[in-house]
């Protein structure tokens, strides 16, 4: 399915906790149906992850999941998603990942039967294809392992299938450091969408066969990498914000191939996806400060359906283990939003979430409901993934320039230089042929084009 219209008539219609197409999954859980629910994710403390240590690994997950479920019950949470995000070893050792999924699912089942706790399990399989350089995205050994892992995790109890896929990353990583627009267009407009079509067609098939939900992807490998590089002052913030908008197109492809949400928590392009598809999204902000810095602590919450902590290590804090503590934080964030929804005050809360962040950084500006809606509108006007990507980038430049012109946002001159350059270059590199001609001499050594069907 190629989305060629928007799901909402205006950005004002987009609201946290409400999606046009709620998703039913797991133990009696419905997502995007009038409530914002927590999505809790956690990771192992420093420890060896291999088959020789499987007992200790399972014990850690038992402790984390039990602690989270217990606190969800005590806090009377109306529902939650538990995310099990694979470390690379857990996808490579297919059985290891599946055993953790099965154990987690069993605990969730017990809490559903004993306490009526509504939950669903998201399994996020690791994209292990990039271990080889240049990566073999379609023919490498890791491809089979990865799809086997999707299948086995679905069979052992995952309700939602996700991945933070990396097609095009081999080019994007270098192009980001060089702030090279032809390179970025090659990565995000040509390679990444092709890989997403290949990947999500198969993930959707597996989900259908196993009767689970193909949930969604994240442009983490591109846009979050860019954001982190910009935070460290390695690249301009405007480059990262433009990349965020461009990357929404490759993430949308998952939905064109059959995903129905919720998109991944670290996909800050989620509001664009929601504006186009009407499917529920997951987002992270201030309650994910345990995992990484961001500029979007409040604004990320404005139209979300799940509210996530991204990831936290299983370490002991004063009030309990970190996953339990972050379950509590997320719960109180969600309670506030749900109280606003129940009392008809959601517009006020949404406005405050947006205005408190929107003009303090270009990263927040670009994911605001209004900006996301503009970018989404630009995307659906175009037919090809390449042109959508290019136009999304141009729309981002226009949004940033308008904010600077209106003195809502302040950017130093050294950032504006890049905004000017990118705006000019978007005009210059107007076709795939132009981009391939300009980028391949610099990036051909990094990528196997045939692995993208080129």
């Amino acid at each position: 399915m190629n989305f060629n219209s928007l799901a909402y008539d205006t950005s004002d219609e987009m609201m946290f906790g409400k999606a046009l197409h709620p998703v039913r999954c797991g133990f009696d859980l419905v997502l995007g149906d009038g409530l914002v629910l927590p999505e809790i994710n956690f990771t192992l403390p420093v420890m060896q992850v291999d088959n020789s240590n499987i007992k200790a690994i399972l014990k850690q997950y038992m402790e984390m999941v039990s602690g989270v479920l217990q606190r969800l019950v005590i806090l009377q949470v109306p529902g939650a998603v538990i995310e099990f995000e694979h470390a690379p070893q857990m996808t490579e050792n297919v059985d290891m990942g599946a055993r953790i999924t099965a154990q987690t699912r069993k605990l969730m089942e017990n809490y559903y039967h004993d306490h009526g706790l509504k939950t669903a399990l998201r399994a996020t399989i690791c994209d292990i294809r990039e271990k080889e350089r240049p990566p073999k995205m379609r023919t490498g050994r890791a491809v089979g392992q990865m799809f086997e892992s999707f299948k086995l995790n679905a069979q052992r109890g995952a309700d939602l299938l996700s991945i933070e896929s990396t097609g095009g990353k081999e080019v994007s990583d270098r192009a980001l450091m060089e702030a090279n627009l032809p390179g970025l267009l090659l990565a995000l407009g040509i390679l990444a969408p092709r890989d997403m079509h290949f990947l999500w067609k198969k993930i959707h098939n597996i989900a259908q066969q196993e009767n689970v939900v193909a949930a969604g992807d994240s442009a983490c490998a591109f846009a979050n990498t860019a954001m982190v590089l910009a935070d460290q002052k390695y690249i301009p913030n405007v480059v990262a914000a433009v990349v965020r908008a461009m990357s929404a197109v490759r993430s949308l492809v998952a939905f064109e191939e059959g995903a129905i949400g919720p998109s991944k928590d670290c996909a800050y392009e989620g509001p664009v996806i929601k504006a186009i598809t009407g499917f529920p999204i997951s987002m992270e902000g201030k309650s994910a400060a345990c995992a990484h810095f961001s500029h979007m602590g409040n604004i990320a919450m404005a139209v979300t359906d799940l509210w996530s902590n991204e990831s936290v290590q299983n370490v002991k804090l004063l009030s309990g283990f970190a996953p339990e503590v972050f379950t509590e934080l997320l719960t109180y964030d969600c309670r506030l939003l749900n109280e606003a929804l129940a009392g008809g005050e959601e517009d006020v809360i949404k406005r405050l979430l947006v205005t408190s962040d929107e003009n303090k950084s270009v990263h927040a500006l670009i994911i605001s409901p209004d900006s996301s809606y503009d970018i989404a509108r630009t995307i659906v006007k175009e037919k090809s993934d390449f042109e959508r990507t290019r136009r999304a980038g141009m729309a981002a430049c226009n949004i940033i320039r308008a904010a600077v012109r209106d003195k809502r946002l302040s950017l130093p001159e050294k950032e504006m230089v890049y905004l000017d350059r990118f705006q000019n270059e978007f005009e210059k590199y107007a076709t795939e042929e132009h981009v391939l001609e300009a980028a391949l001499p610099d990036y051909a050594e990094l990528v196997i084009l045939s692995e993208y069907g080129l």
Partner: protein
């Protein structure tokens, strides 16, 4: 005596064409390759490094300068090798076993190269044994290990231990970096240092080899 200001300026501005012309011109005027390197190219790149640290330059500007530097170095290299001039030091970098994240490692490599270090990149998911083997083969002075995950950083200890077991630990300095890593962890596993970012990694590498240019 040649005034190297113009050559330095080419590096600072990243002017590759002019860098090639001026480097060749210096040689044609009879200046020794080592002098052109030490008084033209490297000081120019040092200014670039300072501008980056001061927030005046981003990595893309630094890369443009590094390319201009490499043009100059390319012209000088045969002469430098003939007169047995060595790089500041050789650094072997890699992402540890089980981990496939490498953008941090790549940044460190870029910045080290720009500071005159020779880089040998072992890639990602590198086993302790491979690090030991590559260190021996390359004669690396420093090993830079990267890991992004709590579940893979234990491979840093395995790598340090592998050098111990091999009996070659005292021949190489080991520095580590990555999101979950700390100074405490570096001390705990017997590494020589922890660098929280690429700029500090360069300073640390200079310190570890006992001086700076």
């Amino acid at each position: 005596m040649t005034n190297y200001n113009e050559l330095q300026e080419c590096i600072i501005k990243g002017n590759r064409i002019k860098a090639r012309e001026l480097t060749q011109e210096c040689l044609d005027n009879g200046n020794p390759a080592k002098e052109i390197l030490d008084e033209g190219l490297i000081p120019g790149m040092a200014v670039v490094g300072k501008k980056f640290q001061d927030g005046e330059y981003f990595i893309p500007e630094m890369l443009v300068s590094a390319r201009a530097l490499n043009i100059g170095l390319g012209i000088l290299k045969p002469l430098l090798e003939a007169s047995d001039v060595k790089p500041v030091a050789k650094v072997l970098v890699g992402t540890v076993k089980g981990d496939i994240h490498d953008i941090g490692k790549n940044l460190v490599a870029i910045m080290l190269r720009g500071s005159g270090f020779e880089i040998i990149d072992a890639g990602v998911d590198v086993s302790p044994e491979k690090f030991v083997q590559m260190a021996k083969e390359s004669g690396a002075d420093i090993l830079g290990l990267s890991a992004l995950l709590t579940t893979t950083m234990t491979a840093m200890k395995d790598t340090v231990d592998a050098f111990q077991a091999d009996g070659s630990r005292d021949k190489i300095k080991i520095m580590i970096g990555g999101a979950p890593v700390t100074t405490d962890y570096a001390e705990k596993i017997g590494a020589d240092g922890y660098a929280p970012n690429a700029a500090i990694a360069v300073e640390m590498a200079k310190t570890l080899v006992g001086g700076s240019r």
